[in-house]
Structure formats: structure tokens, C-alpha cells
């Protein structure tokens, strides 16, 4: 189907179902119940899930396939955001030209940075990308203020020309982003008994693009190009002595992943038309590294899982406070209750990053394959016999 084998196609279907029904899946608790605050099915957050998913899918094409660890990909995300906002300022509020420009500009930017950084490999490559990203961040904050609007960030104003649109709406406010008239912020609300589900146009646009991005990444993984990238990760010496030039392959992977980042940046700006330099900081690049590794670098679904996992728990954890904890452990004797709440306190609310850091370390130490490997190990426990059979078959039977 669609040029995918059965397994990949069903993976695509799973992702499609998850994103399509996310407004239901993420809102399991009825409105007004005590647990309702842990619902994640509101547009703003769901948009973030898929946008970071796209970012991580792209990053995985570089890290997962070639093994090159870039600490500078946030720069491309930032460039994408700036380009998109400029498109909103100059051309129109339609998101399509903004997205296209962002992808092209970030691709060109990645071409330049990749061309230079990929002259070195290993840790030197990581540090070169880090240096470039910090440079872009510093420049965006200082000299490039005419383009980036410095610390304030780039925003829409009533004075923007918007040659194909309008500078201001009839009632004198700044127009909103749209897809040929469909406003990105428009949300259809559905009430089912005590449950409230929200279907947001912007979210569904992002979800659709996520599916396309995911599909494209499957195709890349299964293509000869993907094979070459994995070969680069596995053994560059053999690759060189097999008559293949590794550099254009890695550069292509770098540019593609940079374009994915630019796409994510453009979508961020399309949902909320502003762009700030902090999106380019190296710690923001670190976040996509966390997502990809946590989910499982080099696997198809891993980065999406990682992005969803981090953004979901970031949201949940930051909402748990001591009062909530006391509620949970009420049944315990007072002393014990206070002790447990005291122990958990640093990990919740604003302490989410501590939890994330610990989780990340645990994954790197014990589960180098990330959540995907964790899932596979659990699955193996349940059907221990089957994989052995499969292994035998693979060895004895000729090609299918």
C-alpha cells in the first residue's frame, strides 16, 4: 500500500488513527471532574505534540540513520519561524506560502551550515553545529534585530503591508492565520455527556502534515538513500572503499532534517504568529535530542513517541502540585503522607525537568533503543517462543 510493506503501512495507520482521534484519546476525563486538569486534548497542546513530532522525525533522519549528533537543529526551527512570520507580515495570512518559504529558507540555511560542519565528524561535528546554533542565536538577539526584532521577538502589527491580504480586519484588529479562509484557531466543540472534545482546524492541519512527514520518513528509511545513510553509521571506511562518497549523502540527510525543522518552525508560527530567538538556543536543540533518544533513535516511530511523551508529561507534571499529591495520598497516616509528598515534591510542578533529566539518563544507560526498545522487550516477555522460530526461518528459507 502506498509503496510501503505491510508492517510499515500498519504503523502509518496506527499513527494516523492516533493523531485523528487525539482529541478523544487525550481527553479521557469528564469536564469538571477532579482529573480534568490532566486532560491534554486542548488545541494548543495537541498542536505542540505534532509539531515537535515533525521536528523529531526530521532529526531522526540525521541522528538515527547517519549517527551524526547535531546540537544545533533548533537554529533551523527558529529560521523557519522567522520566515513564516515574515510571510504573514508581507504577503498574506495564508499558511501555505509561509510554510513553503520556511522550508526553502531553512533548507538553504542547513545546506550552508551542513556543508561546513560535515567536513568533520564525531564530537567535532557536534561542537561545530553547537557553535553555529549559538552564533545564530546571539545574532538574532543583537545585530539581526531588524529581521528578528531582538528580545521582543517578531510579531505581526497593524502596519504590515500583507500585499495579498489586508493589513487590518474591518474591526481594526490584526488578521489571523488561515488556510484559504479556514482560520487556524477555529475550533469545533463537541459535548458528549460530561465530556468536552475540541476539534481545532490548526491541529488537524498540523496532524495532516505530521502524517505526510512520517510517510516520507518511512520512504526515506526504506530507500537506497536510507540504506546508504545506515551504512555511513555502520562503517565509513568500508563505504569509502566501496566507491561511495559519504559527504553528499550526509549533507543531504542534514538538509532534509533541517527542512523538517523549518517546517516545524513554520507550523509553530502558523498556530501562533510570533517568533523569538529563544527558539534557537542550544538547549532547545538539546530538547529534540532528548525526544529522539528517549523515543528510540533510528526507529521509525520512536521520535514521534518521544516527542509526544515529553510534551505530554511536561504538561501533566507541571500541573501536579503539593495539593494534588496530598489528595492522592490522603488515605495514609499523616506523617507518611507528608513524607511521600515531600519526596515527590522536587519532581513535580516546576521540577519536571529534573524528572525528565533522570528519565533521559536512565534511558541512555539502560535502554539505548529508547521507549521502542522498552516496548519490544516487554513484548518479548509475553511471547518468548515466537521470535526464536522467526529467527530459524530467516536463516533456513531462501528469499520470499
Amino acid at each position: 500500500m502506498l509503496g510501503l510493506n505491510k508492517k510499515d503501512f500498519s504503523l502509518l495507520l496506527v499513527v494516523a488513527a492516533l493523531t485523528l482521534f487525539a482529541p478523544f484519546i487525550l481527553n479521557p476525563f469528564p469536564e469538571g471532574s477532579g482529573m480534568a486538569q490532566f486532560n491534554a486534548g486542548y488545541p494548543d497542546l495537541m498542536q505542540r505534540f505534532v509539531i515537535f513530532g515533525i521536528f523529531a522525525i526530521g532529526f531522526n533522519i540525521l541522528l538515527g540513520l547517519t549517527g551524526y549528533l547535531s546540537f544545533g537543529h533548533a537554529a533551523f526551527l527558529g529560521v523557519g519561524s522567522y520566515s513564516a512570520v515574515w510571510m504573514f507580515k508581507l504577503l498574506s495570512m495564508n499558511v501555505i506560502p509561509a510554510i513553503l518559504l520556511a522550508v526553502v529558507v531553512s533548507g538553504l540555511f542547513a545546506l550552508v551550515i551542513g556543508f561546513i560542519s560535515l567536513r568533520r565528524s564525531g564530537i567535532y561535528f557536534s561542537i561545530l553545529t553547537l557553535a553555529f546554533a549559538q552564533m545564530s542565536f546571539n545574532l538574532a538577539y543583537s545585530v539581526l534585530t531588524p529581521i528578528t526584532n531582538g528580545e521582543t521577538g517578531l510579531q505581526l502589527t497593524l502596519n504590515d503591508p500583507r500585499v495579498l491580504g489586508q493589513s487590518a480586519t474591518a474591526d481594526g484588529s490584526i488578521p489571523v492565520t488561515s488556510l484559504f479562509g479556514l482560520e487556524m484557531r477555529s475550533t469545533f466543540e463537541m459535548t458528549l455527556g460530561p465530556w468536552l472534545f475540541q476539534f481545532n482546524a490548526g491541529y488537524y492541519l498540523c496532524a495532516l502534515i505530521l502524517l505526510l512527514s512520517f510517510y516520507l520518513s518511512i520512504r526515506i528509511f526504506r530507500s537506497p538513500f536510507g540504506l546508504m545513510l545506515r551504512a555511513i553509521k555502520s562503517n565509513q571506511t568500508r563505504l569509502n572503499y566501496t566507491g561511495l562518497n559519504a559527504r553528499p549523502y550526509t549533507l543531504a540527510a542534514f538538509v532534509i532534517s533541517g527542512m523538517y525543522a523549518g517546517l516545524a518552525g513554520a507550523l509553530m508560527a502558523s498556530m501562533d504568529p510570533l517568533a523569538g530567538a529563544e527558539r534557537m538556543q542550544w538547549t532547545a536543540s538539546g530538547e529534540v535530542v532528548l525526544m529522539t533518544i528517549l523515543g528510540g533513535a533510528g526507529t521509525l516511530i520512536g521520535p514521534v513517541l518521544g516527542a509526544g511523551f515529553i510534551k505530554y508529561f511536561e504538561n501533566i507534571f507541571s500541573k501536579i502540585n503539593d495539593t494534588v499529591l496530598h489528595g492522592w495520598f490522603e488515605f495514609m497516616p499523616d506523617g507518611l503522607e507528608n513524607l511521600i509528598v515531600g519526596i515527590l515534591h522536587p519532581f513535580i510542578g516546576k521540577g519536571w525537568h529534573l524528572t525528565l533529566g533522570l528519565l533521559f539518563m536512565l534511558v541512555v544507560i539502560f535502554l539505548p533503543g529508547g521507549l521502542v526498545e522498552g516496548g519490544q522487550r516487554i513484548a518479548k516477555l509475553f511471547r518468548r517462543k515466537k521470535p526464536d522460530d522467526a529467527g530459524d526461518n530467516a536463516q533456513s528459507t531462501p528469499a520470499e
Binding site: 567535532y124 561545530l128 546571539n138
Partner: protein
């Protein structure tokens, strides 16, 4: 001329910090072969050792002084720190005033112990893993450490003053025969420079003149052979990590008065010190020190108004530009050795 000297001096203190962190990074990398992204966090913890000691010294108890009243007319409560109580008011106040230098003594055992724990508990298991894994796990550690500090000390910078004697500035220009006030330089920065020079010479002397240091240097040149000699490399590795942590720690302690400690100062310094290490040459200790000072001074030159008007924004990117040029033209850095991290 005076402007140039001023910029060199200005570059020295930042350069000293870069050099000290880069020195520790290089020690770890050179001996243990580990790329330590948590090194900035060690610097940050050092700075918070200074904060902690000054808080401990300021522990106080309250007494009621019946002879005085506060503005509501109640008998005034007087806070007395225990230190003043025990050592007398004058000497006690001096101790509190000298909290930062005293914190060096306080921080060294803490940092060494902490280094031991981290090396034994975590780093040890990553010697054989790829560099990317080392970067990732130490990056995770850096996040954890900075978040722990944030949980205890909050997100705001905590001003930690230098002793009174070193407050204020020193008119360096008059010494050299310039106009008064031509070159004004804060005393503490001078102290910082002298201190880092001391630490750096200490580390070099240790490596040069002790048997232990000789083995470590041999290990940096050729790890496998030293392993074959049957020397107990493990213990030495642990100690080296402790030493590197202590160097980063004291660098942080002394930096506290220059830049009020905050939880993300480690990450801020980390990127720059990695750049310094790479410019100096992976695995080269003199290279790390040289590049640290060089980049510190270069940075302060780039922030001169004359330079900035010539090339706008150069002060923000000079270090990175230099690093990129060096990496591309001299892959081994300024003083790197052949065969270290080359691929």
C-alpha cells in the same frame, strides 16, 4: 594603548574561567577518554558551594535587647550569627566577609567526593561506549544537577560578594604611567586571575613532578600501553575525575563574586568551554589554557566600541567564528596531538 591594555585585562578574568574549565575537561578527556557535558554543572556547583558556605556562616540566633526598641516600641530583636557569637564580633564578621575564599577549602573536599561518586557510579560504565553516548548521559546529568540546584536555591541569581578588602577597583594605569582613571580594574578580577594562574601551575606541577602525574601523562599519550603495565588505572581515573571536578569547583567558587551564581550558569559556560577545548586541541592541557586566555581576550577586544562599529555583532560571535575557522583549517586545534579523536 590604554584601551588595549584594559581589554587584555578584561579578557583575563573570563579567560581564566574558560581556561580552568577547559583544563578540567581536557584532563577528563585526555585520561578517561570521556566527553563530559556535565563539566559546566560542576563549575556551577562550585559557585553554589560559595553560596552555601556564606549561608551557613550567616546562620544566626535572635536575642532580645531590652535597652533598644524597634519602631513599634517593642524590645528590639537582635540577630547574632553563631560565628560572631563564638569568635567574637570582629573576628566573626571577618570570617563572614571572607566567605568566598573560605569556600575554596569547603568546596575542595565536596567536589572531590562528588567527582568520585559520579565517576564510580556513572562515568565508569561509559568508558567503552561511543562518544555520542557519553555526551548524552553527561548532558542528562547536567540537566539533573542544574534542576536540583534550582529546586534548592531557586531560579534567581544569588549575589555573593567578595571580601571588603577586594571590593572596589585599582587604578592600573597610573602604574604604567597613564593618566589617572585610564585603566580601572576591579581588585577581585585581579585576584581571580592570580588564583587561576596558581591552580593551573599547581595542576601542571602535579602532573610533571609526581609519579602519579607521570602515569597520568603516559596514560594521556597512550592509554593501552599504560593499561598493559599493570598499573591500577581505575583508581587513578577516579582520582583524576575528582581532581578535574575540584578544579572546576574552585573556579566556580571564585567566580561567584564576578557573576552572581544562577542554576544555568553551567550550561552557559559549557558551550564556550567546549569551544575552548576544541580550539586548544582535544587532549592538550597547554592548548586548553592557551585557548582559554586567547578567546577570553579576543572576546573582550571584540566588545570594544571601535571594533563593534566596524563589524556589528562581532562581539557576540567572535569565539564561534574563531572556533569554526580553527576546526576547519587546523583540525587538531592549536596544540592538539596526532591521533586524538581523529576520524
Amino acid at each position: 594603548m590604554d584601551a588595549i591594555i584594559l581589554q587584555i585585562l578584561n579578557g583575563l578574568d573570563k579567560g581564566s574561567a574558560y581556561a580552568l574549565i577547559a583544563l578540567g575537561l581536557t584532563l577528563i578527556f585526555g585520561t578517561l577518554g570521556v566527553v563530559n557535558f556535565a563539566h559546566g554543572a560542576l563549575f556551577m556547583i562550585g559557585a553554589f558551594c560559595a553560596v552555601t558556605l556564606s549561608r551557613i556562616l550567616n546562620f544566626s540566633f535572635e536575642t532580645i535587647d531590652p535597652t533598644k526598641t524597634d519602631f513599634l516600641g517593642n524590645p528590639a530583636k537582635i540577630k547574632t550569627t553563631y560565628v560572631e557569637h563564638w569568635f567574637g564580633a570582629d573576628f566573626g564578621a571577618t570570617i563572614i566577609d571572607w566567605a568566598v575564599p573560605l569556600a575554596i577549602l569547603f568546596s575542595i573536599p565536596i567536589m572531590i567526593l562528588f567527582g568520585f561518586i559520579v565517576e564510580r557510579g556513572l562515568i565508569k560504565h561509559f568508558y567503552k561506549r561511543p562518544h555520542a553516548d557519553q555526551i548524552l548521559v553527561t548532558y542528562g546529568l547536567a540537566i539533573v544537577l542544574q534542576e536540583i540546584i534550582k529546586a534548592f536555591y531557586g531560579a534567581n541569581p544569588i549575589p555573593t560578594p567578595a571580601p571588603d578588602v577586594f571590593k572596589g577597583s585599582f587604578d592600573f594605569g597610573t602604574l604604567l604611567g597613564f593618566e589617572p582613571n585610564a585603566i580601572i580594574y576591579p581588585y577581585w578580577r585581579l585576584v581571580y586571575f592570580a588564583f587561576s594562574a596558581l591552580i593551573i601551575s599547581g595542576v601542571f606541577a602535579f602532573l610533571r613532578f609526581t609519579t602519579f602525574g607521570m602515569v597520568v601523562r603516559a596514560g594521556m599519550a597512550d592509554r593501552e600501553t599504560v593499561g598493559l603495565l599493570g598499573l591500577n588505572i581505575d583508581k587513578r581515573f577516579t582520582f583524576m575525575f575528582g581532581l578535574a571536578a575540584a578544579v572546576a569547583g574552585v573556579a566556580g567558587v571564585m567566580y561567584a563574586p564576578i557573576n552572581s551564581p544562577n542554576y544555568h550558569m553551567g550550561m552557559d559556560f559549557l558551550v564556550l568551554s567546549f569551544v575552548v577545548v576544541v580550539v586548544g586541541g582535544m587532549g592538550s592541557l597547554p592548548g586548553a589554557v592557551l585557548a582559554g586566555f586567547l578567546l577570553g581576550i579576543l572576546e573582550s577586544f571584540a566588545s570594544m566600541n571601535e571594533v563593534k562599529s566596524l563589524i556589528p555583532g562581532i562581539d557576540q560571535i567572535i569565539i564561534y567564528v574563531v572556533a569554526i575557522i580553527i576546526l576547519l583549517t587546523r583540525p587538531r586545534g592549536l596544540m592538539g596531538r596526532k591521533g586524538v579523536m581523529e576520524d
